[in-house]
Symmetry: C2
Subunit: 197 residues, 2 copies
Amino acid sequence: MKLLEDRIRRDGTVKPGDVLKVDSFINHQMDVELFEQMAKEFRRLFADRPINKILTIEASGIGIACIVAREFHVPVVFAKKSQSINLDGESYTTKVESFTHKRVYDVIVSKKYLNPEDHILIIDDFMANGCAVEGLIDLIHEAGATVEGVGIAIEKGFQRGGQKIRSQGIRVESLAIVDSMNAETGEIVFRDQPNQS
Amino acid sequence: MKLLEDRIRRDGTVKPGDVLKVDSFINHQMDVELFEQMAKEFRRLFADRPINKILTIEASGIGIACIVAREFHVPVVFAKKSQSINLDGESYTTKVESFTHKRVYDVIVSKKYLNPEDHILIIDDFMANGCAVEGLIDLIHEAGATVEGVGIAIEKGFQRGGQKIRSQGIRVESLAIVDSMNAETGEIVFRDQPNQS
C-alpha cells in the first residue's frame, strides 16, 4: 500500500539490529486516519471472505484491529498476554515467544469468544518471525474455527514469519513488506505488491 | 448513556468482590459499533473543548480510544505499562497501582508524544479507584500539557476514583456510573445523569 510505504519512508526510523521504529504513527502514537485507509484496503483485499470476527493480540494490534472491525461491521476479540494463567478450562491458551522482548508469554482467549462457526481475520501491526500470528492461529484451531486470512500492517520480509504462515496455505496480506533496510543509510526497500493500491 | 446502561444490564455480570464483567462487549470481545455510539456521545459532551489528542493506557482502553479519536479527528497516544523501564530520560514516567491485578506498574509515554501545547482528552474503559487516570494526569502534567477532560465508559461510582479526579476540577464524563451492584441478585443501580443521552 503506497500510502503506508510513503509514511514509513517519511516517519519511520531504521535502527541497528533490524529494528524499524514507527511509534510516531503505528504503535505508540496512532494515526487513526491512516488506520482508516489501511482498514479500507484490508476490506478490499479480503472482500471475498465471509469474515465475522477480527482476532488480534494486545496491546499494539488493538487499535488497528478496531478500525478494521468497524470497516467489516464485526466485533474484535483480543488475545491477552499473561505470565500467570489460571488454567481453569475456560480459555484457549498457547505460548508465544516475543521477538522484541525476548520472552515467552502465555496467550489466552476465553472459550466464549471463539466458536467453531467463526470465520476469522487476524490483524496485527507487525510480523517478523510470525510467532504471535502462529499463536493466534493455534487458538483459532483449538476452537475449531476457520482462519480466513491474516492482515498485517508491516511485515519484515527478510524474517521467516511470512514464509512460514503462507506455506500453510493461509492468505497473508501485509500492507508494507520490508525486504531490506539499512540502519546506516536509513534506506528501506519494499517488496513490490501489484495487487495493492 | 442509556444505550450503554441497557447493554450492561443485558450482557454484564456482577461477581462477588465488586467485579463487573463486561468482557463480552467492552474489554475482551469488543463491540465496535457500540464504541462508535459511545464516541459520538463523548464528542457531544466535550464539544466545547479544544482537544487535539487522546491519551489512554494499554491494553483495554486502546480500542475505545481509537474509535473516539476517529470521531474527534485526532491521534491517540497510549501509555505503556512496564515493570522494567530504561530511565533514559526520553520518557515521562509514573507509577500506577492496578486494582484488578494488585500490582504496581511503571507507566511511560515517550516525551516525543506529549507536548506543552497539547490539549488532551483521557479515555479509558473503566474507572474504579482512579489510579490509572491519576497516572495519566501525572504524565500530562509532567509534559506541561493541558487535561481537557476524562471520558470513561464505566465508572464504579461507589469507589473513590471519580470523586478524587472531579475534586481536582477536572471534568469527568462516565457514560455509565454504577452506584451499587449486587452479586446475589445481579441488580445494578446506575446514577442518574440528565446531561447524557
